[in-house]
Structures are given as structure tokens and as C-alpha cells.
């Protein structure tokens, strides 16, 4: 068939999904300002997202910090600049790797679980059951998750920054023999509060984005168990790619 047909169809689906996700997010967001306030669910989801993801985030951060130290050292040595290693590693982590890797790991662990859970609630009519009992399902299922993710992601990112820098320190100071005092001093010179905060702000955005995408895909899943599987895959792909694209845009515009 005409390749333009597929291109057009893909484009329309993209537009429909983006619009849907955007509206879905704002709907859920505005419900946070009208009662009932679901504090208990909010705490439960913070625990779910945080506990499910912290270990994999920590491991990812540790090894990324270590490998970054090696690679950057390799480059710096060529012009004798290895003394700034601490600063470069810390900048890379706080500005980019910390927030982005954390977000991707949260997608893999918690985001996919959110889509699968909501999708199965949809196909077994549990979402309709909420409606029947006069409970607003978006407010019940999505709103607390959005807030939970927007709080937990920055916390996980801060942890990833710290552990990643520790990984860089281990390699830089203990393996590659850079002086402890110089490593720390360069880091203090080069990293400003704004660098740290730019990563944290990004992570708040990523948190909202992940729940919007994964929540939307699960909430509107259809087509039985197979449909839930498809929705989960789509949610993971869209959020991961979306995070990288959004990261680029946010970096060029704001930071």
C-alpha cells in the first residue's frame, strides 16, 4: 500500500496520543485542588515508586559515575587537564546523567507497572466500578501518582547524583590516583547550585511526564490481556524516548 498512508496514519496517532496525554495530565492535575484529597494513596504511591526504583537507580548511578570518570580522565589526560576530573564528573552527573538515567530507570520499574496495573483495571471493569460508586477514577488513580512521582523523582535524582559522584571519586582518587583535595576542590569550584537545581527541575518534569504517559496508556487500554501488554510496551517506549527528547529541549531552552 501507499507508504504515505502509513506515514500519515502514524502521524495522526502521534498527534492524538500527544493531545490525549496532555489533556489527561491537566485533568488529573486540576483534580488535586478539589476534595477528596487522597493523601494516603499519595504516600502509598511515593513508597511504590521510590522503593521499587531506588536500588536500580543507585546501581545505575554508581556505574555511570565510575565509567564517566574513566572516560573523562582518558580525554583530559591528553592535554594534562586531569585535575579538573572531579568538576567534570559532578557536572555531567548533576546536569544530565542523574536526572535522565533516574527517569529512565523509573520508567522501566514503576512506569511499566503503572500501565500494567491500570490496564488490567480497565479491562476487568474496575475503573467502571469506581465510576459506579461515584468515585472519580482519574482523581483516584492518576492524581496521587502524579504528585508522588513529582516528589520522588527529585529525591531519587539527588541520590543518584550523590552515588554517581561517589563512583567518580572511587575511580578518580582511589584508582587513577588524583589527589583527594584537588578532586573535591575542583568540584566545589565548577559546580554551582544552579547546575544541581537544573537537574532537579528536570526530574520534576520527568516525574509528571512518566505518570502522564504510563497512566494514559493504561487507563485507556483495550483489547484484553494482549492489549495491556501492547499498552505497556508503548508506554515504556514513548516515555523513554520522550524523556530524551524533552531533556534536549529543556537543556537548550532553559539551562
Amino acid at each position: 500500500m501507499n507508504p504515505l498512508f502509513y506515514l500519515g496514519r502514524g502521524f495522526i496517532k502521534f498527534l492524538r496520543d500527544s493531545g490525549g496525554i496532555f489533556l489527561f495530565f491537566w485533568q488529573a492535575f486540576f483534580y488535586s485542588f478539589s476534595p477528596p484529597y487522597r493523601v494516603r494513596l499519595f504516600i502509598k504511591h511515593m513508597e511504590f515508586i521510590g522503593v521499587k526504583s531506588w536500588l536500580v537507580v543507585a546501581l545505575t548511578a554508581l556505574f555511570s559515575g565510575m565509567v564517566t570518570a574513566y572516560q573523562v580522565h582518558h580525554a583530559l589526560v591528553k592535554f594534562g587537564g586531569q585535575s579538573v576530573l572531579g568538576g567534570v564528573v559532578a557536572l555531567t552527573l548533576t546536569r544530565e546523567l542523574g536526572p535522565v538515567l533516574t527517569a529512565i530507570m523509573v520508567v522501566a520499574r514503576a512506569g511499566s507497572a503503572i500501565t500494567a496495573e491500570l490496564g488490567s483495571m480497565r479491562i476487568t471493569e474496575q475503573i467502571d466500578a469506581l465510576k459506579i460508586m461515584a468515585v472519580n477514577p482519574v482523581q483516584y488513580l492518576i492524581t496521587p501518582r502524579i504528585w508522588a512521582a513529582m516528589i520522588v523523582l527529585p529525591l531519587l535524582t539527588a541520590m543518584a547524583d550523590l552515588i554517581g559522584i561517589a563512583g567518580g571519586y572511587i575511580i578518580g582518587v582511589m584508582v587513577l590516583g588524583i589527589d583527594h583535595g584537588i578532586f573535591i576542590a575542583r568540584m566545589e569550584d565548577m559546580v554551582e547550585l544552579m547546575d544541581l537545581m537544573s537537574g532537579i527541575y528536570k526530574s520534576i518534569f520527568f516525574g509528571a511526564f512518566i505518570v502522564a504517559v504510563c497512566g494514559y496508556k493504561g487507563y485507556f487500554a483495550s483489547g484484553g490481556a494482549e492489549g495491556v501488554g501492547r499498552a505497556t510496551t508503548e508506554a515504556v517506549v514513548i516515555s523513554s524516548v520522550g524523556i530524551l527528547v524533552a531533556d534536549y529541549i529543556l537543556t537548550t531552552i532553559f539551562f
Binding site: M121, T124, Q126, D128, K131, I132, M133, A134, V135
Partner: protein, 250 residues
């Protein structure tokens, strides 16, 4: 007196027309049985009555308003008055049986923790499910799930309850227990019941009125005596499947 009036309701899914103009009045404080073959649209009809599905055409009148025209927010008010038991139960699988039954009470009443607990135990013993109260839905049999869902639907004492096959999959003794329970609640609280069922024997035992859905329309409707004497070929065939011997004797 009718509490719900369905006027010329039509609904299609992807060009496949399921409801082709359903007209039906649900009398207040009585039990109306809706019967019909599998896949004829009984569940679809019930979901329209609580606004889970929107019709292509037609009206549904409840308390002087056409609920097909209401927004989600306005529907919430209607849904506090009309309960629905889903055919598959639709229990929350992250909650235990007791938590499922307590859910609507926590959401919509100001009862204390202890009062809710007492009410949940009362409901669960009425459906003979008290021993399973701390189990999760995935650990229950189909019939147990149905009864747990029934207890959850009864929790709020709505004015109208729509039961989508409340007794299917239960053993004969439990079928009677459940129908007696529904009947008792109807008598005590003046509840209006709409029951979907395939079971003619139960229908003739409990129904105040019966309606037959066939090929997207209600083909026969009225009190059981009228149904028995129906001349509609589909209704006759339905009746013959059970009452063949009676007919031959008579």
C-alpha cells in the same frame, strides 16, 4: 409507578447495532427480570442506565432528567442512587474482600471504622462469605467473587440496584439464598431491582415483571402470567426449554 423509563434506545459498536430501539419502564420497588439470549445486549442495556455507555439515540428518564444528557459530574449524583452489580464482579484486586465491601462505605458515609467493620461483617455473612473476608479476589472462586461483589453493591443501600446475572455460576441452594436476600432487601428498604438472568425458574419465582430482549428490542414485557401466555415465538421457545413437560401435561 415507574422509576426509570427507557425510550427508543439505540446503540451500535462499529456499525454493529446491538440495541435497536429499546422501550421499557422499570416500576418502582419491584423486581424486574430482563431475559434474553447470550450476546443480545442485556449487559450493554444495563450499562446505559448508569451512564457507563452513551446511546447513539434515545432517552433514559430517571427522576425527571434524561441521564443520557448528563455530564460525568452530574452522573455522580445519579450513581449514588443506582447501584450496579457487574457480570464479572469487577472487584478491586488490590483489596481484600472486606476492604472491597468497605470501599463505598469509606468513600460515601461518615461511619466510624468500627461501624464500617460491623456493616461489612453483616453484609458478608448475608452472602455467606464471612470466612473469606481477608482473601484477595484472585484467591476466590467465580461464585465467591460474584457474592463479594454483591455485598459491595448492597453496602450503600441505593434506591435502585441493577444486577447483571447475580446467580449465574452459583449452586442451586446459593441461588435461592441470594435471591431471597435480594427479595428481603427489596421488601425492607423499598428497593427497585433490575435482574438479568437466564434462569426462568428463578424469574417466575421472584419476578414482579419480566421483559424479553430479542434482536435489539424488548419483544415482550409484563407480569409473569402475561409472559406465560405470550404468543411471541421467541418467548415461547424460551419457555418451552424449561416448561416443556408442563405444556404437554396441560
Amino acid at each position: 409507578m415507574e422509576i426509570i423509563k427507557i425510550k427508543d434506545l439505540k446503540k451500535s459498536f462499529n456499525s454493529f447495532q446491538v440495541l435497536k430501539g429499546v422501550n421499557l419502564s422499570i416500576p418502582s420497588q419491584e423486581i424486574t427480570f430482563i431475559m434474553g439470549g447470550s450476546g443480545t445486549g442485556k449487559s450493554v442495556l444495563l450499562k446505559h442506565l448508569v451512564g457507563l455507555l452513551k446511546p447513539d439515540e434515545g432517552e433514559i428518564w430517571f427522576e425527571n432528567q434524561d441521564i443520557t444528557k448528563l455530564s460525568e459530574r452530574e452522573l455522580e449524583k445519579v450513581r449514588k442512587k443506582i447501584g450496579l452489580l457487574f457480570q464479572e464482579g469487577a472487584l478491586f484486586d488490590s483489596l481484600t474482600v472486606a476492604e472491597n465491601v468497605a470501599f463505598p462505605l469509606k468513600e460515601h458515609t461518615k461511619l466510624s471504622k468500627r461501624e464500617i467493620e460491623a456493616k461489612v461483617e453483616e453484609l458478608l455473612s448475608a452472602v455467606e462469605l464471612l470466612p473469606a473476608k481477608d482473601k484477595y479476589p484472585s484467591e476466590l472462586s467465580g461464585g465467591m467473587r460474584k457474592r463479594a461483589a454483591l455485598a459491595r453493591t448492597l453496602a450503600l443501600n441505593p434506591q435502585v440496584i441493577l444486577f447483571d446475572e447475580p446467580t449465574t455460576g452459583l449452586d442451586p441452594v446459593l441461588q435461592i439464598t441470594i435471591m431471597d436476600l435480594i427479595n428481603k432487601i427489596k421488601e425492607t428498604y423499598g428497593l427497585t431491582c433490575v435482574v438479568i438472568s437466564h434462569d426462568l425458574i428463578l424469574a417466575f419465582k421472584y419476578a414482579d415483571r419480566m421483559a424479553f430482549l430479542y434482536d435489539g428490542v424488548i419483544v415482550e414485557e409484563g407480569p409473569p402470567e402475561k409472559i406465560r401466555a405470550s404468543a411471541h415465538p421467541y418467548v415461547q421457545r424460551f419457555l418451552e426449554s424449561v416448561f416443556l413437560e408442563n405444556k404437554e401435561e396441560g
